[in-house]
Structures are given as structure tokens and as C-alpha cells.
């Protein structure tokens, strides 16, 4: 997390770069939309939703890679339940990002 080429101020160690990168892609934003609608989905369900609802022709492999980037940014977590693997949305990295600018005044007091 947070491995970016450019040196960043101390506050960016929370992985802001990885979050922006993750959110920059429309497919990844759709994955987050679908996880918001129902949290805890298998890779199969995520792929089905993207194909059927948005006619996205991405391969399972490609969606799997998108999920990896979301996981690296901390926006998605995966949890294993016996033989199954489910994906969950985690919006806490977004809160840190917006706090960075929105709450500056209160922080400085």
C-alpha cells in the first residue's frame, strides 16, 4: 500500500495514491457500486453482474486483477468461509482521503 514513485508528505502513508489509482478505472468503480448494492460476493457473482447489467466483456481474469488493485488500496477485502471466497467493500480509505482536505481547519486548531 502507498508505494508510489513520487515522494509524498507524511500524511499520505495511508495509501492515498493506491486509492486514487483504484478509483480511476470505471470498471473498478462499477465493482464498488455492485458491492454497495449487496456486500459479500463471489468472483462469479461480480462477473455476472458486470456482464449482465453493464454488458462489460471483461474476462474473469481481468476482473480478478481489478479486485487485486481494489484490495491493495484497502477498498475491498476478501474473506474465506470454508471453501468459498467472498468480497466486501470497505469505505474507510475514502474517509481518510476526504478528511485530509475537509477537516484541515479543525485539525490545525
Amino acid at each position: 500500500m502507498g508505494d508510489t514513485a513520487e515522494p509524498e508528505p507524511e500524511r499520505d502513508t495511508a495509501g492515498g495514491g493506491a486509492v486514487f489509482k483504484a478509483l480511476a478505472d470505471p470498471t473498478r468503480r462499477k465493482i464498488l457500486d455492485e458491492l454497495t448494492e449487496r456486500d459479500g460476493q463471489t468472483l462469479f457473482e461480480i462477473c455476472s453482474r458486470l456482464t449482465m447489467k453493464y454488458q462489460l466483456g471483461s474476462s474473469r481474469q481481468a476482473i480478478s486483477q481489478h479486485l487485486e488493485i481494489l484490495i491493495e488500496a484497502g477498498l475491498v477485502t476478501s474473506h474465506r468461509e470454508g471453501r468459498y471466497k467472498f468480497h466486501h467493500i470497505d469505505t474507510s480509505p475514502l474517509e481518510r482521503l476526504t478528511d485530509r482536505w475537509r477537516n484541515r481547519e479543525t485539525k490545525e486548531n
Partner: protein, 128 residues
């Protein structure tokens, strides 16, 4: 040409027969002893002369990693048609069946995915 037989790979034929008949509601069509395993098929009571489903032993070494990889990604390799996915979801959940995907309407089709307890995920689908 028509499809008269398809298979699910199961790790125990007795358990599979119980699940596919008592839980899902299929009926046994043929049972022929064949060495260690049996030639064992079930059919839908709605179509007893229709396509048979063979409950095929999964002992071949290539099968286990294949099945595990499919289940890990939530992929149902087999799909059955039902009148009402939501009603089947309620009925099967009540019988303790574990769903990995709840009923989901996707365009003209509604689907759900459950664990057949024999190492497979099965999709049920309803055309609207």
C-alpha cells in the same frame, strides 16, 4: 441429436443420491453396480423421460483441484431450470442448503447459486 445425459462429479454417490432426491427433488432413474462405483442417474419428476443426470464419482486426480478452483471463485458448473428462483431459494434454505449467491435478477433471467454438498456449486435459473 439431443442431450440425454449430463454429469455432476460427486465425492460420495450415496450422499449425492440423498441430496439430489430428498433435497432437490429429483428421482432415481438407473442404478447399475459397476465395480467400486455405480452407474447412477436421476431425472426430473417433471420430465422422467428427459435428460438424465449422472452422479459421477470424482476420484480421478484431475477432478479435485478442478472442483476446488471452481468453488473458490463461486462458479456454478451446472445449471437447473426452475419456475420460481425465489421460492426455491426459500424452500432450499429452509432445508439447510447453503447459497453462495442469493436470487439476482439480471436482465431477463433470475439466478441463484447453491452448494450441492458434493463439492459443486449449482445454479438455478428462471427465465422471465
Amino acid at each position: 441429436m439431443r442431450i440425454n445425459l449430463t454429469s455432476v462429479l460427486v465425492h460420495n454417490q450415496d450422499e449425492a443420491l440423498r441430496f439430489y432426491t430428498e433435497v432437490l427433488g429429483f428421482v432415481k432413474k438407473t442404478e447399475i453396480p459397476l465395480g467400486e462405483a455405480r452407474w447412477l442417474t436421476v431425472v426430473s419428476p417433471e420430465d422422467p423421460n428427459g435428460c438424465e443426470l449422472s452422479l459421477e464419482p470424482d476420484g480421478h486426480p484431475a477432478v479435485k483441484p478442478f472442483k476446488e478452483a471452481l468453488v473458490n471463485d463461486g462458479i456454478p458448473y451446472t445449471s437447473f431450470a426452475v419456475e420460481d428462483v425465489r421460492a426455491e431459494f426459500e424452500r432450499l434454505s429452509g432445508l439447510g442448503v447453503r447459497f453462495t449467491q442469493e436470487p439476482l435478477q439480471m436482465g431477463t433471467v433470475t439466478t441463484a447459486v447453491f452448494d450441492d454438498t458434493c463439492g459443486n456449486l449449482i445454479q438455478i435459473a428462471q427465465a422471465s
